[in-house]
Symmetry: C2
């Protein structure tokens, strides 16, 4: 295996988040499933924007958030995902590159292409986020965009489960995993969302069985994947197929499962949970940074928990503080 | 004087803020005058955006921020300011209306009109903000946009000093003050920025002498206006011309000066100053809300200090918390 130029390459939807606070009542009135990601069309995106409160726009996208987090730790990361040649596309590209992430997927420019994806994220007073995503041009990510050179150059290729929703992207997904596998690189997958797992369970199972090395999931997603209510059983199933499974359990921390061991990692305490958007994405960022740098799994878990705690202490899913410095201050990494 | 439908009407630049954190070194390297507002052209806007860090977009504009703050206190506010028919224009309009502010200035649609204004705001680790504003279509605000009905319907017309920069807007400004005066309404002005006062000192002095009732300024701006280094002298000059002068002094609080008295208002303590963007705007919001509702000046000052403390505790210049509720919780207003 040749030396890698990147620690992690992320592939995912290229989304700008439009975040607004709301009361729980607003979710009920608009039939929005709290805590989940719902796919919406252009009409519903317009309708929801009209009725929602004042917002802020912050670049997002699950795997893109993870890559920005990795860069904040000082890791080398890259991203593949599709924007349009419009204002939000420019914002997305700027923010990712300015965070230090290599990003060179060309913007869609063909006549009649869809606009850049946006997710209207409603944050309730408890800090929980409910996402309403118009995928736009993200659905046009295809095999043509899968930059084989980047994949071969990255120690780990990280795929977000949300990419199972756009059909073309799913093919791109499988192709990326194949190239990574052939190059002797690791493949990592995040299950992203319980409803997403429900929609694409068989496809997820096939991909995992065919060569996912590192799996990220929260408890609900893992239970849904293996159609069980027994957490231990779900872990046993997962460890048969993956070298590593990291399962997040919100305030209860996380569990790292390998064929040989099970490591419990406490959550990093947060005085005020402002917005949980990106908690899983940043958990993956911290974990993958630690893993790519050869740290032991306990430290990988602590870096993951630290990054997640930073992101939920403010609005948006991109880190506002230097994660490397934070890890040094907490004594998790050396200065 | 007829009954008013609005507590305050704000007139100002219609701007979306693009906020990014940076080190002090970045300001020095780019010759950016720390703590001030600098006007930039489209080329410099492009250049600065390319070199600045990951950003978030939050609607801004000094008077618009004040009107959003007023609405958050439960006051009735309206705004006049010019956007283009583009993405940022849509964002600005959405955020202001969603905050509960009446906003009906038509977007510019003529061929070749400039894009919506944006301000690239760099926030240093001390929380200080340094603004770089491309005024875009805000410079096209003219007398045609001055909605006389709104002015006559508002108890107070509030003008931001930054509007002295676009030449057409300055005329609009004078016209608005004239209409308000004729209708027996109050006129309020914020000096906005020390450099802005330097650029337009004579015009500011003329406007103030011709009928500004309530003047907002920070210490530097007031000293610059009267070309003195003696704070007491500046206050004496101002009280000759205005019924009320509110002077902010950062962490030292503020001073409210009338022909008869001088009230010292302490700053509301803030545990972590994240971003000072909008501190003056929200001070004005709290003060004008209290004033329009007939509270005594000490309470007006406390409401002002409270609103300023909320805004500097997070990124951006639009309130993230319900200011009315906050004021009730602190015992400044009754529930």
């Amino acid at each position: 295996m040749s030396r890698s130029r990147y620690d992690v390459l992320g592939i995912g939807n290229a989304i700008v988040d439009v975040l607004a606070r709301c009361e729980d009542r607003f979710l009920e009135d608009n039939n929005l499933p709290k805590g989940h990601m719902r796919l919406i069309d252009a009409n519903e995106a317009d309708r929801l924007y009209r009725v929602m409160g004042p917002a802020m726009e912050i670049s997002g996208g699950s795997a893109a958030n993870s890559m920005a987090g990795l860069a904040s730790f000082g890791g080398k990361s890259a991203f593949i995902g599709k924007v349009a040649d419009d204002h939000l596309g420019e914002v997305f590209g700027h923010d990712l590159r300015a965070a230090g992430v290599t990003y060179r997927t060309p913007a869609a420019t063909e006549q009649g292409c869809l606009p850049t994806a946006r997710s209207m994220i409603l944050v309730t007073p408890d800090g929980e986020r409910t996402m309403n995503t118009f995928l736009g041009t993200s659905t046009q990510l295809g095999i043509a965009e899968i930059d084989a050179e980047l994949i071969r150059d990255a120690r780990i290729t990280y795929l977000e489960g949300y990419l199972f929703d756009p059909p073309e992207a799913r093919e791109a997904f499988a192709e990326a995993a194949r190239i990574a596998g052939e190059a002797g690189r690791k493949v990592s997958l995040s299950l992203s969302d319980g409803f997403c797992v429900d929609r694409h369970r068989a496809a997820f199972r096939t991909l995992i069985a065919s060569g996912v090395d590192i799996l990220f999931a929260n408890e609900d997603e893992l239970l849904s994947l293996y159609e069980t209510e027994d957490f231990d059983q779900a872990c046993r199933e997962a460890r048969k197929e993956c070298e590593l499974v990291a399962v997040t359990r919100g305030a209860a921390g996380s569990v790292i499962v390998t064929p040989d061991e099970r490591i419990i990692v406490p959550a990093e305490p947060v005085s005020d949970v402002v917005d949980t958007t990106g908690a899983g994405d940043l958990y993956a960022a911290g974990f993958l940074y630690g893993f790519a740098k050869g740290h032991d799994l306990t430290r990988c878990g602590r870096l993951a928990a630290l990054a997640a705690s930073e992101i939920i202490s403010h609005m948006g899913a991109r880190p506002e503080h230097d994660l490397k410095q934070l890890a040094v201050d907490r004594g998790i990494l050396k200065g």
